[in-house]
């Protein structure tokens, strides 16, 4: 499978990664080869097969929204690269 520059630029944007020109070329080649191999799945006829996203049947389970944990703001903020006034600090996004 041939991967274009546009496709690589698009998936890099989706995954929020910057690629150098050299990395972009390498990614094109790697993804092309890997997806080319993945295409062998098409040999298997899957018409009418129900897609299986999970091996055990999962369904929504409803319960009351009760708070069971205690106040842990400081604990949860302990790993934050930047924090202020008990909140995560990020660059200004609204003027």
């Amino acid at each position: 499978m041939t991967i274009t520059d546009e496709t690589i630029t698009y998936v890099a944007a989706l995954t929020k990664l910057s690629l150098s020109a050299q990395e972009q070329e390498k990614a094109k080649e790697d993804l092309g080869r890997i997806l080319g191999y993945i295409d062998t799945m098409n040999e298997l006829v899957t018409d009418g097969v129900e897609p299986m996203s999970h091996v055990i049947s999962l369904q929504n389970v409803f319960r009351e929204d009760e708070v069971t944990n205690k106040e842990e703001r400081e604990n949860l903020l302990s790993n934050a690269p930047a924090k202020k006034d008990g909140a995560f600090l990020v660059p200004k996004t609204v003027e």
């Binding site: 990664l17 993945i38 091996v55 999962l58 949860l76 995560f88």
Partner: protein, 485 residues
């Protein structure tokens, strides 16, 4: 007596009988770590002082009757993608290089409650993506049998630590073979349990519909004991199966009379090393002589397990790893001018090549225009693979085959060709796609003196079947094949 050569259960017995103190057990393993760790690099973090003070507390708990588990006092290593409260948990990634979890994973709570002593956190492929432990940001782990070779992966640190006597037993995780393949390469035993058997609460996610935690030990009984300890429902993991604790020790009977063992013909075709094939078929013969009924069959759709696996695992990874944004925890790239640049620079500088590659594959197969051709197609292939196993299990109790197509590769051979590395997962990934339990245990040695792994695959929640056959085989053959490394 060398404490680090004892099985975990034997060490536990001696500790409870008073022949060995918990401190002596911990010190013996720390001595091996001190001596060998520069060569092997099994650990990302070793907790020497904490383990020693914990040892004394556990000793008191054993004497007072608080800890009665067969594994109480046994030094354990934990893979570094399993959260440990107040102990750095990195996933072998720069992006989580300084992450200190504010809570314990469910399995870690269980180890603690049983009086086990954690020695440290083991090396792995970054975010468990890899089959060699070479993609770790913190450097490679070497195979204790031959330090020019990889230990396998992604739980390479856990398997190497157990093989080298740097831990009595360990926890690993398995998304596409990451417990079984390193266990095979390092000559130890490892179990990937049925999906839902062990709580994933606190396991840092790679591919949530495939991920599972399991034991890596010196023999089958050690693995059965640790699995009994960590199994059971947990309301914090909605995919864990709500059952009481599972006891697997009862399955270790030493006979397989009447067990029906299926051997997939396709597993013994091109690509499988001849010495591995011979050792695995010789193991089948041992089980036959003990009364098992062998039959060959076709496991057709499984030929497409590797491509389906890399689509599904990458898709789930691209979603799971979107949480690493430099805001809540972990690495954040300095000197950004706005939020978008912060995200991009954090992720670009924080993730390694293999993780980026899989996130991009995942984003591609989920993108509009390709979703049906790749992601949805892979989910259909997954359904056919599960059906293929279900049909096989109408006629057999377990499936026997190799764990990996070769023994341990040379360091550096795999990284340059990701596709070649992916193909090495051919015997393991189908088990994760179908959610089945499987064990890898040593069944021989090649002419280089490297261990060969035998894989036994069970029905959903058929852990007792694979343990029974594995234990019988081990009892019959003595377990060790290549001499201790």
């Amino acid at each position: 007596m060398d404490i680090t050569k004892l099985t975990a259960l034997e060490l536990g017995r001696q500790i409870r009988a008073g022949g060995v103190s918990v401190r002596e057990a911990v010190e013996a393993h720390l001595a091996v770590i001190r001596e060998k760790e520069n060569d092997y690099h099994c650990y990302i973090t070793v907790r020497k002082e904490e383990a020693l003070s914990r040892a004394d507390a556990v000793q008191e708990g054993i004497l007072s009757g608080q800890y009665t588990s067969p594994l109480a006092g046994v030094p354990v290593a934990v893979k570094d993608n399993i959260c440990t409260k107040a102990v750095r948990t990195t996933c072998a990634s720069k992006i989580l290089g300084d992450f200190v979890p504010p809570y314990d994973a469910a399995v870690v709570e269980r180890l603690t409650a049983a009086g086990m002593v954690m020695l440290g956190k083991t090396n792995m492929d970054e975010f468990a993506m890899g089959s060699t432990t070479e993609t770790s940001y913190f450097g490679v782990t070497k195979n204790p049998w031959d330090i020019t070779r990889v230990p396998g992966g992604s739980s390479g640190g856990s398997a190497a630590a157990v093989a080298a006597g740097e831990a009595g037993i360990a926890l690993g995780s398995d998304t596409g073979g990451s417990i079984r393949q390193p266990s095979a390469f390092c000559g130890v035993t490892g179990i990937k349990p049925t999906y839902g058997t062990v709580s994933r609460y606190g396991l840092i996610a790679y591919a949530s519909s495939l991920d599972g935690i399991g034991p890596v030990g010196k023999d089958v009984a050690d693995c059965a004991a640790l699995l009994s300890l960590i199994s059971g429902g947990d309301r914090r993991d909605s995919t864990s199966v709500p059952q009481d604790r599972f006891d697997y020790m009862g399955a270790l009977k030493g006979d397989v009379r009447g067990m029906r063992i299926g051997i997939p013909k396709g597993y013994f075709q091109a690509g499988l090393d001849a010495q591995v094939a011979d050792a695995v078929l010789a193991a089948a013969k041992v089980l036959k002589e003990k009364g098992a009924l062998l039959s060959e069959f076709d496991l057709d759709a499984v030929d497409y397990a590797v491509p389906a696996y890399y689509v599904i695992a990458s898709a789930e990874a691209s979603s799971n790893l979107s949480r690493y944004d430099g805001v809540k925890y972990g690495f954040c790239a300095p000197d950004h001018k706005d939020l978008q640049e912060m995200y991009k620079r954090t992720r670009t500088e924080g993730f390694g090549d293999e993780v980026k590659r899989r996130m991009m594959i995942g984003a591609f197969v989920l993108s509009s225009g390709y979703y049906d051709a790749y992601y949805n197609k892979a989910l259909k292939v997954r359904a056919l693979i599960r059906q293929s196993f279900d049909r096989a299990f109408e006629n057999c109790d377990l499936i026997l085959g190799p764990t990996a197509p070769t023994t341990a590769m040379k360091l550096g051979e795999s990284l340059s060709d990701p596709l070649k590395m992916y193909l090495g997962d051919i015997y393991t990934v189908a088990v994760n796609l179908a959610g089945l339990p499987a064990i890898s245990l040593p069944c021989g040695c090649d002419d280089q003196g490297l261990p060969i792994g035998l894989q036994l695959i069970g029905k959903p929640f058929g852990e007792r079947d694979i343990l029974r056959a594995a234990y019988c085989y081990e009892q019959e053959t003595g377990g060790a094949f290549c001499g201790r490394c």
